[in-house]
Subunit: 253 residues, 2 copies
DNA sequence: CAACTTGGTTGACTCAGATCAAAACGCGGC
DNA sequence: GCCGCGTTTTGATCTGAGTCAACCAAGTTG
């Protein structure tokens, strides 16, 4: 369980450029490398094994619960939502995933998804056959450790999301959501203060456990208070400091 | 990523007896084996490496966020709650864990806990040093796969909990909670219809994202309607069928 | 056994946010 | 340009569950 191979930060330095979904027009395999913490040698090996790009149109479904798990998805461009649903049709969005992020690991071991994933806009992904991943793991055992790491991060995020859904006011939820988005964008070399939401108010509300209308009202109020400016889905954060304070950021440590 | 070693069900058959926290008075190492899917050969190997039993009294803390991760915890008897908290002191319980369950995997890869764990009553656990786990993994690579599997289950549970916290009424939450508990108990050979809650109304409310008083009111109502009977923490489910219907059980698949 | 403590129960009141309703906006298609 | 449709915004009203407060039951302690 000691970290094998190159550290994540080392790999990041090497791959940052290649992984940027804007500059990287090659195969989405690079998208897979950053989260998996691979170096360039591993990269070319990986590349020789898998190479499969797919495009989904807005609204199309990548996978659904009950289906056998055949692929891992690395998002090259666009964004995706994942959600679980009750029998009687209510839906809870469990996450939004943007370019450069990895989808499907959560259900890797059980060979079945518990959630459904749907494209929010036209997206491009790299599908990696799980069966081929066997080969990869055999040649690069360190990958398995990295997958543990990713899943552990996922669990941490889910727990924070539980805290949010169980204990926070609507205002705190939305503030936290915006600041969180900002962080994710800036960690991927996009602007952290100005970005376009790929999800509707309805989706945001669903994700945060509040009503569509409440999202609108709060966005309007944030704008009145000079915290943000909005134009439909274009968002500009004017005072991240104060927004973070509103959100009572976050779990200790 | 193919399942190595014995299947989980095979291991279960072998270990079921040994893992029962009532009949098993030996080392809690058995507790570790069931979830990890080990056979008896692995078991004795494991046993030769780790052997560390610890007792915590009610209210004592097993680990807290920010602390370096040194141990994995297999619960031998009693029960434990884990929770995350905001800076300003609000708390969200993320899970209750009963005898036979495993604690600490979620933060394995990042070497740090995000949550805090506290004993609900006097408990007995088997602490496994992570550093020793290295040895184990080297000799039993299949363990790493099993850990993936466990974490994947954890993620699935967390997602269902998110659905519960985001989209369900207080009534549904409590009904689902009771039915879920019933399942867990009966899967460990306890009575699924009659059991003792180790957690207070306050904890239950916190876990479900509702107030203590609401838990009381609902339990009273369930009793009036003949769904359950309660005497303080002793619970008896009279009509699991109808209770399940109330909960709108559960995620498809 | 009287004084405390802790956990559980019940009632009355309040409010954040859901729901209902309707208007305004933006955008692709023709 | 104009139409139709999905999304966003705003307003008015309603309600589930939170909050506050009082009380009870069962241990515990001195």
């Amino acid at each position: 369980m000691t970290v094998p191979g190159p550290s994540l930060s080392e790999s990041c330095a090497v791959l940052q450029q290649a992984c940027d979904p804007v500059t990287c027009n090659n195969c989405g395999i690079y998208q897979l490398c950053l989260p998996l913490g691979l170096n360039q040698a591993d990269l070319s090996l990986l590349e020789s094994i898998v190479r499969r790009k797919v495009v989904y149109k807005r609204g199309e479904i990548l996978f659904r619960p009950g289906e056998p798990l055949d692929y891992l998805y690395a998002i090259r461009s666009g964004s995706v939502k994942t959600y679980v649903s009750t029998e009687d049709g209510r839906v809870q969005i469990t996450g939004f995933h943007i370019a450069g992020e990895l989808l499907g690991l959560s259900a890797l071991a059980s060979r079945q998804y518990s959630s459904e994933a749907r494209a929010l806009e036209t997206i491009s992904v790299c599908k990696v056959e799980i069966s081929r991943l066997d080969e990869i793991v055999q040649q690069m055992p360190s990958i398995q450790y990295q997958m543990l790491r990713i899943m552990s991060v996922q669990i941490r995020q889910d727990e924070e999301q539980m805290l949010l859904l169980g204990k926070r006011s609507a205002e705190e939820r939305l503030a936290e959501y915006l600041v969180g988005l900002s962080r994710r964008f800036s960690s991927r070399n996009y602007s952290g203060t100005q970005f376009r939401l790929s999800m509707s108010r309805l989706d945001i509300g669903n994700y945060l456990g509040i009503a569509e209308e409440t999202v609108c009202r709060l966005l309007s109020r944030f704008q009145e208070e000079g915290l943000i400016t909005t134009d439909r889905r274009q968002i500009c954060l004017k005072d991240i400091e104060r927004l973070g304070a509103l959100a009572h950021m976050a779990v200790a440590a």
